[in-house]
Symmetry: C2
Subunit: 152 residues, 2 copies
DNA sequence: GTAAAACCTCAAGTAAGATTGAGGTCAACC
DNA sequence: GGTTGACCTCAATCTTACTTGAGGTTTTAC
């Protein structure tokens, strides 16, 4: 049994191990901790120790980031996980559902954007009076203007 | 005829007009100019004046940003537009094609991600030895590790 | 028991993409 | 022709998400 495996069994992970396993740097783990996204306790020598589920938390953080969710939002959502006990399948499932909706929205937005890019950026209407990019008021209310229509 | 319409006809846009029409702040237009994404000339009083196609450029910049393309990449792509003449339908169409491929990729990535979130974050395998998020080596080569698999 | 590797804190730096503010000029309108 | 709003430059500041480095301690390995 290697030392790393021992650590696993002890369910008492060092920062270096978590860094290697999760693919983020030690400095990032420190950073996430200061931001309240993950937690650790300290051993006698003041070194961080983690529960194994920190690996899932970090994986979830990376996945959410890849979806374009900010750390602040991720923190909010992670805060809905139970504090006292190790999160269960249902707990993680709820997070997943939360973000899946956002992700679906984002995908839909990207698809709309693709269609716009297709239909509009490439269109031939260079005239200021006809192009819907030039003249957004044509199909937006007066309160909207400019590139605002691109922001979701 | 309003003053704004006069300005349009004169094809000689002020920075304030462009800002209002495109939905970006004057400071952003200054910024884009220093970065080489848009161009202007100056009137007698040293004020910026723009050709109308700057509006399309800005719309394209915002669209590309919404796709997750960096200003540097956008600059590179915009640099392929003709320098001497006003870009034609075909010119803009080429840009559109360029980015559509990237957008398709990004959408596909998001969809893969959605499936992962579904299948993995929400899965019940909290054991370190079975969960594919915990044990990435199971399906990635040794060179890959950790959350790397989430980065496209 | 000692050297190397891993860890600690805290301040500063980085990159992208802007915004804000100071101090001053130009243009539009009555 | 003066006031107000739009514009100018340039430096500084902001946000997000980290990384780097200095200076020092702890753990691990032999």
């Amino acid at each position: 049994m290697t030392d790393q495996q021992k650590k696993l069994v002890e369910a008492n992970l060092t920062v270096g191990f978590v860094a290697k396993r999760s693919g983020v740097k030690v400095s990032a783990l420190h950073f996430y901790e200061t931001k309240g996204l993950i937690r650790s306790w300290r051993n006698n020598g003041n070194q961080r120790r983690y529960k194994p589920d920190v690996l899932r938390r970090v994986a979830v953080i990376k996945a959410a980031q890849a979806m374009g969710i900010t750390l602040e939002e991720i923190k909010q959502t992670l805060a809905t996980l139970p504090d006292k006990r190790t999160p269960t399948k249902e707990d993680w499932s709820a997070l997943s559902k939360n973000w899946q909706a956002q992700l679906d929205e984002r995908i839909a937005f990207m698809q709309r954007l693709r269609d716009r890019v297709d239909g509009c950026i490439g269109c031939g209407c260079l005239s200021m009076t006809k192009c819907p990019i030039y003249n957004k008021d044509d199909y937006l209310g007066d309160t909207q203007s400019g590139a605002v229509l691109l922001n979701k």
